[in-house]
Symmetry: C2
Subunit: 342 residues, 2 copies
């Protein structure tokens, strides 16, 4: 499998992504990585790259920055994003991973790869952990910050198709994010979307933030603006929590000598490290380093601007997994089945 990696559009240095690529090919011997960026610069920093059989360089002299307007930015024909999507379109690569300007990646994908049958706008989805196991899929998380009842309906179709593919669950429960559980709640867009979603037999109605972790719903449909905000807040809160946990160890209120000794033993014994690892694992939103752009005719994975070494490794793993389980074919076939029953 051949995966194109945009090593220039993220907020981190290209070096981090090149190193991640070196390590990824170690444990995934069947993949070939195409690093899209300034080849001269990469070769100067990593002269050993020319000997790596599974890593190829694709030169791109330009970069679309985060501040550029998507449609205008696509005029940069020599940018990593435009080159990457074109390579995907021409089947030189099987997947494209970029931590760059989301709007530009979405626009380029829609225009060049086209949409799957029945879908007008793409969507991005991410899995959240749950209290009693399993995962809850939330979408859209930012592919489409404008929201209409039709885009919410399409998110539902894409969510159902993707959830079935990943979890192999025949009838995942689907809910509509709203400000209250009752059907009269919310703004006019959400009220209209409620009627569209009501067609699905596994639609459980409105859900709220409380339901994300409790297992009462498998797929939560929301607009891209709110989904993006929720995801970022959850990540920030997770970091805040683990930092606070650390701080709390060092400032319990009544700190007797006994407690101070206990604290020392607790940390030194490795118990604290275990605890922290368990917590982080349990709470990690299953972002997998990047989220697939659902609904376009091509395997495009979009990462955070701040994606790091580990995010890239995870994104490569996800691309390999999605390709292996025939993501494009099954997703598009699931969409057709849902629309047929609709």
């Amino acid at each position: 499998m051949r995966i194109g990696i945009d090593v220039e559009s993220g907020e981190r240095s290209f070096e981090e992504y090149v190193k991640g690529s070196f390590d990824a090919v170690q444990f995934l011997p069947n993949i070939q990585l195409f690093l899209i960026g300034n080849s001269t610069k990469i070769k100067r920093k990593f002269p050993e790259i020319e000997e790596k059989q599974n890593i190829l360089l694709i030169n791109a002299n330009d970069v679309i920055t985060m501040t550029e307007e998507p449609i205008k930015a696509l005029k940069k024909k020599d940018s990593t994003i435009v080159i990457g999507i074109n390579l995907l379109k021409n089947k030189v690569i099987d997947a494209f991973i970029s931590p760059g300007n989301t709007g530009a990646i979405v626009a380029s994908s829609v225009l060049n790869l086209g949409m799957m049958e029945g879908i007008k706008r793409p969507s991005m989805a991410t899995f959240f952990p749950r209290r009693h196991g399993g995962e809850t899929l939330i979408l859209d998380i930012g592919a489409n910050p404008e929201s209409s009842e039709l885009s919410l309906y399409q998110n539902a179709i894409l969510g159902l198709s993707y959830y079935k593919l990943i979890w192999n669950k025949l009838k995942p429960k689907i809910g509509l994010l709203n400000v209250g559980g009752e059907s009269v709640k919310g703004n006019s867009t959400v009220k209209k979307a409620y009627n569209f979603l009501n067609k699905f037999e596994n639609f459980i109605g409105n859900v709220e933030g409380y339901n994300v972790f409790d297992g009462s719903v498998d797929i939560i449909v929301c607009n891209g603006f709110t989904g993006n905000s929720i995801l970022k807040l959850a990540e920030a809160l997770k970091k805040f929590f683990t930092d606070t946990l650390k701080k709390s160890f060092y400032k319990t209120k009544k700190k007797s000598f006994f407690k101070r000794v206990m604290l020392g033993i607790f940390v030194l014994s490795g118990f604290y490290a275990d605890l922290k690892r368990n917590l982080i694992e349990a709470l990690l939103p299953k972002y997998y380093g990047a989220a697939p752009l659902l609904g376009v005719n091509g395997l495009v994975l979009i990462g955070h601007g701040s994606s790091n070494y580990l995010d890239l490794i995870n994104a490569i793993n996800l691309a390999e997994k999605l390709n292996r389980i025939k993501y494009l074919e099954i997703l598009s076939s699931n969409i057709k089945k849902i629309l047929k029953n609709d």
Copy 2:
């Protein structure tokens, strides 16, 4: 000070709110509570209520449920919400607290109490904790689930006025919640709002979920739909964290005999209880049990539908504090000052 309490509209039994009221008057001897609900039922359950000098009963035979459409629901003239807002309008009470149908409380407040000069729609705000102290105000959290650039602008004015009142900070930093930091990001409403907010000298531009806890911004403006979702997710995630923390103690991966003994001592010594308390305190969104409905001519506090005993106590405390610091006068004077400089 006289506070009206709607004991019927919440999801919990009236008994919980009556008990909360009994306890609140113990430590706030200067307040008088008007319990609005079915007086016969209350007296039957709490016969001792007739001897309590600081607690009075106001009979209401009807209740607006969570599923009713706000405007229609206001025809229930004998409902706790309609009676409560009328008592406030007629200055029988100085504040009204309700855990009921938010839309109905908002509509009744706007129609009967009227808006402060310069404000067209009210807003609800809540404080979030921060990593290094201080609090971040987020608004709207649900008073207005329809979003326009003008309502976002009004949220900014209300947020600045409220933050100054509570924190006495002359120039709090204000940010606009968006899907990215760059000014070109977001949907059309947010882009237009950016230009409105740009007039404030202390506007720092777009912010994201990441910024809520890092102290980079004091006031985060967002639409009521997203704000409500964020608040509920944060509360659910906090609960998930503390539950996971508990679970993690009992399933560290390599559990040697030594570690099991350690674990026992750790829990029994009270160290674990201390730790959990510290964590919960640090992470608690400062919802104060209920949020004031900013911008209306009256002190109205709206609580979660699921508000419990403790939430009511906190809401009564907040009402007493806001009344003491002359919330209505100062908020409305702050709004005028901001609009004058605008």
